[in-house]
């Protein structure tokens, strides 16, 4: 039983592509939407997309998207009855869910207690170990002193992962190879964590050799019905940021998938989970799997699961938040074909992946069979320097992995972004790499093949590039020369196009 009311208006406490993604489903469901935006985002796509929009402050997220009072104020001012947090920002803050409860606004996400249990990663690991779920060795609690953290790392042996206790999405996370590098990496990770989550508590985890990152999508309703919707393989990562995700994973067979799914469901039930969640595992070279963390929100890569299952996870989130029962049972979950997602980042692989904020002077997105582009940008939009560099997620679905790879490659070839530098070439190189093609890759993939993935342009078409550039330059110079000649001769020329047209007509008339 539930006393929850139907949701009529959703405030999306996020920006960019995910805000647009959530609003799309709301529109399909006949639910009104409210956007929030900082000074840097007045022109952002999600603002234009929403039914209402509320300004919430200056560009830095600490002064806008991370300020609970401002989000709450915007919800009250617009009469929103629910808030969808997207991913990042406030999505995993239990405090925020509590504040909404108090205010009588529905949080489209899990219970605050579940977030507490999973939110601080060290507590989550302990809870899971207690529930009999295997975990990666690491510090049992956050460590405050940097020297103590180094001593701990020295004792368990390098490499280690330095991680933000409140972390997620690769922010505030570093892999440290040597004791000498420890302090500077620790400090840098701590600063990143502080600015991304407003919480800079850090902990240490042992780095497993050749690990694969495989995660299970779970879904639960208010009444404890909990299902899993298959896995996503996310081992193609750079600087702990996922680059390519796919489902199914090449290393899972049905037996292992079901075993991991059952563990994930057990983990979710152990914290009375509700809504969409992801249980992340590391899988070692011997196909043992370890609990890494649970993300108590919608993931960036959720469309991979949507394409394989045909479900709309945002719609399911809203239904569960309204107190509805899950519409499907575990045995009704169907997974078909293969889906791959490529994250399009505003960054320059040739310059050590330097961020490339700036104005998009032209954008054309791919289309055609089996393609989905979840984007938050448009021609003319200035990608701000303050937020994540991801501008879009491009997905391909096909009956087999081989088809899906070819399809995604084809679509990446159609993707056109001018004015800023994006990683499209890099993504194609990943899809083409023999290790990726074979399915035999781990989280070390991007590092190990760093040089091979930086493709040189094909020498066969260089002459075409030169011809095209020269002809374009000729045309530009010629047009410029013509325009200035026209201006110089203006007095002699007819005053207006109307006069010219009239003259042409009378001439033609006389011929007839």
């Amino acid at each position: 039983m539930s006393d929850r009311k139907p949701i009529r208006k959703v405030l999306v406490a996020n920006r960019g592509e995910i805000a647009v993604r959530v609003m799309r489903t709301c529109r399909e469901m006949g639910i009104k939407t409210v956007a929030v935006y900082s000074d840097a985002d007045r022109g952002s796509l999600h603002v234009r997309f929403a039914d209402e929009a509320v300004h919430i402050g200056p560009p830095p997220s600490r002064e806008s998207y991370l300020v609970m009072d401002k989000i709450l104020g915007a919800a009250r001012a617009t009469g929103a009855d629910a808030i969808h947090p997207g991913y990042g920002f406030l999505s995993e803050k239990a405090e925020f869910a509590r504040a909404l409860d108090t205010a009588g606004i529905t949080f489209i996400g899990p219970r605050a207690e579940s977030m507490d249990a999973m939110g601080v990663k060290t507590t989550a690991r302990k809870n899971m170990a207690d529930a009999g779920v295997p975990t990666v060795p690491g510090s049992p609690a956050p460590i405050s002193d940097e020297n103590e953290a180094r001593a701990y790392s020295d004792s368990i042996g390098y490499p280690v992962m330095i991680k933000a206790a409140a972390g997620g999405g690769g922010k505030g996370m570093k892999k440290c190879e040597r004791s000498e590098d420890f302090l500077s990496m620790w400090q840098s990770a701590k600063r990143e964590a502080g600015s991304a989550f407003g919480d800079d508590r850090m902990y240490i985890e042992k780095f497993l050799e050749k690990p694969r990152h495989v995660e299970i999508q779970v879904f639960a309703d208010e009444y404890g019905n909990t299902i899993f919707l298959g896995e996503r393989e996310c081992s193609v990562q750079r600087r702990q940021q996922k680059v390519i995700e796919e489902s199914p994973s090449c290393i899972l067979d049905d037996k292992m998938r079901n075993a991991m799914g059952e563990v994930a469901v057990r983990a979710a039930k152990a914290v009375r989970y509700r809504g969409a969640g992801t249980v992340e595992f590391l899988v070692d070279a011997h196909r043992n799997f370890y609990f890494l963390e649970m993300n108590t929100r919608l993931q960036v890569e959720h469309p991979v699961t949507e394409m394989c299952t045909g479900l709309d996870l945002v719609r399911m989130q809203i239904e569960v938040a309204q107190g509805e029962k899950l519409a499907i049972a575990q045995e009704q979950v169907v997974r078909r074909g293969h889906a791959i997602e490529a994250r399009v980042y505003a960054e320059d692989p040739a310059r050590n992946f330097m961020p490339s904020p700036g104005r998009i002077s032209y954008l054309r997105v791919p289309a055609g069979p089996g393609i989905r582009d979840d984007s938050g940008v448009y021609t003319g939009w200035v990608v701000p320097q303050f937020y994540d560099p991801m501008i879009s997620k491009l997905l391909a679905w096909a009956p087999t992995r081989e088809y899906a790879i070819e399809r995604l490659k084809r679509a990446l070839g159609e993707y056109t972004v001018h004015g800023i530098t994006v990683n499209l070439q890099y993504l194609r190189a990943v899809l083409d790499h023999p290790a990726f093609r074979s399915g035999e890759y781990d989280t070390g993939f991007c590092g190990k093949f760093e040089k091979e993935l930086l493709v040189k342009p094909d020498p066969r078409y260089e002459h075409v590039a030169l011809i095209a550039a020269a002809v374009a330059a000729y045309r530009r110079d010629h047009d410029a020369a013509e325009a200035s000649a026209a201006r110089a001769g203006q007095t002699a020329a007819p005053r207006s196009n109307w006069q010219r047209l009239g003259r042409a007509r009378s001439l033609r008339g006389s011929i007839r």
Binding site: R239, P357, G413, V464, I467, A468, V471, A472, Y474
Partner: protein
């Protein structure tokens, strides 16, 4: 006929291209001793359907003033295209060199989160001097050469524009 010079690999290679118009959108292009019949049909912004003799290419041109990025069949070709006047001006300006004082500039707008050196410090090429945060990631700006820090133009916490001077090494 107009002659253009294309600079490739950041100026390390040059190609000379002669363009002669032969009709609307049709050109005779001579390059490297070969002559091509070229038909350039402009589609929407920056997109050109290019017929080189009989081969058909869809070319994307992301063009600045002289810097151009051409995208063809999955490859990107960054180059600079100059006419004779611009080439003379470029030559007069002198070649890029690592001798003498080198200025480190911010490659993108962001915030200085850490200054790792002081004026007077001896630094090695590739050593991190300043850390800039942009798009929630920290990026270490490295010294362009071995030398001594002669100037620091920023302090921690400062916001910088793309192209802003960060430090000078001599």
């Amino acid at each position: 006929m107009t002659t253009y010079v294309a600079l490739l690999d950041g100026g390390r290679r040059e190609e000379t291209i002669d363009v002669t118009p032969e009709g609307p959108g049709v050109y005779r292009v001579e390059m490297g001793g070969e002559v091509h019949q070229v038909d350039a049909f402009r589609h929407d912004y920056g997109t050109v359907s290019l017929l080189v003799d009989t081969a058909s290419y869809s070319v994307q041109l992301d063009a600045g003033d002289s810097e151009v990025k051409a995208y063809i069949r999955g490859s990107a070709y960054p180059l600079e295209i100059l006419d004779e006047r611009r080439l003379r001006m470029r030559r007069a300006a002198g070649k890029f060199t690592v001798e003498g004082k080198q200025t480190l500039t911010a490659p993108m707008p962001g915030k200085v989160v850490k200054v790792l050196v002081k004026v007077g410090d001896e630094v090695k090429e590739g050593q991190g001097l300043v850390v800039i945060e942009a798009m929630k990631m920290e990026n270490e700006m490295k010294s362009p050469k071995d030398g001594k820090i002669v100037e620091l133009a920023v302090v921690e916490g400062q916001a910088v524009e793309g192209g802003a001077k960060l430090a000078a090494v001599e």
